[in-house]
Symmetry: C2
């Protein structure tokens, strides 16, 4: 699909056809795009744990959601639990601190204060976006959602992942089923003329 059509068609989908698994080739293509995301110093401090069986996904949901949400089984959770594939996106801060302690970068103190923003999380988020766009390109749909901090430890343990990783978010993938439009969209998209500025902040970009 043309790049611009992929960008325009992408939206977060919150319900999937549970009978249609994501073809393995599509998952591999999404991962192949994910590893082409940019990363500071080419650190590539990211990992992606792909969950496709019902057991794997149930294990994730038990760890990542509280008893409260599970009992309530609110409409959000009921919808996203239909996703046949979950890709848990982990960032590895240590890989960045190690990379930038090398002689060509010279942050040998490994201080986090040298970093304007946590590029380990930003870069991993870029990789997640490439997977979401790949889903659209392949005729599927996706959702990106976070895991609450109080569920991080349990979720990493369920995945047998090192406890120092951060869960940047989860990409759900599948064939879209009819879903409820997110109420957040009522806020409306901020127009380019409001978010983009010409030359200095506050002078609207007018094209």
């Amino acid at each position: 699909m043309e790049f611009r059509d992929v960008v325009r068609r992408r939206r977060m989908v919150r319900a999937y056809d549970p009978e249609r698994p994501v073809p393995t080739e599509v998952i591999t293509r999404a991962l192949d795009h994910a590893v082409r995301a940019p990363s500071a110093g080419f650190s590539q401090g990211w990992d992606f744990v792909v969950l496709t069986s019902a057991d794997e996904r149930d294990g994730f949901w038990s760890a990542a959601t509280g008893a409260e949400e599970q009992e309530r089984m609110d409409s959000w959770l009921r919808g996203v639990r239909t996703a046949p594939c979950l890709v848990v996106c982990l960032s590895d801060k240590e890989a960045y601190l190690d990379r930038y302690a090398e002689p060509d970068k010279g942050f040998s103190d490994r201080s986090e204060a040298r970093w304007p923003v946590p590029y380990w999380d930003v870069d991993t988020g870029m990789a997640a976006l490439l997977m979401l766009l790949t889903a659209v390109d392949e005729g599927l749909a996706g959702l990106f959602f976070g895991v609450p901090p109080e569920r991080r430890e349990r979720t990493l343990a369920a995945l047998e992942a090192p406890p120092d990783r951060r869960i940047v978010g989860v990409v759900a993938l599948g064939y879209a089923a009819p879903d409820r439009r997110s109420p957040s969209l009522r806020r409306g998209r901020r127009p380019v003329g409001e978010v983009a500025h010409r030359g200095r902040f506050g002078r609207p970009w007018s094209g």
Copy 2:
């Protein structure tokens, strides 16, 4: 261009043809894609300051780089200063805390401890990636780079931006000139079989 070709062709370019400005329509298209990035709760806490004139760009470089780098004028800086267009990408944490304090989200304490990662930075990074991909789609090139924390205050002041914004990074745009391959690339790309895991961490994804 096909989405997958855009993803495969994208790379960071560190030298530009200074005689060829970026057409205004291309900048507008990049911004139009940027505002289609996903954002938590549709918060859209981002701003993009576009610098196209030599004066605007010089002001940025004076604020964002130290006297040391400027005197040395190392090859990195000499290269990227040829970029005819810079888009400074700012994140707005307060917009996210405000959004999530609304009744449907309920984080009325506005505590940052509720956030697993700073989605204000992650989402703004996704918007930056959409601009980089748009450059490739339009036959141009781009670079994403950060501003050191000790230069943040001066840089925001030079842009007349609110002092609470974070500079997630800068997207340089232009027509590529021959550049030196980044030494970081010698590290090699981590293969999918190493970064992607099937079912649990440590079991390689093999397609």
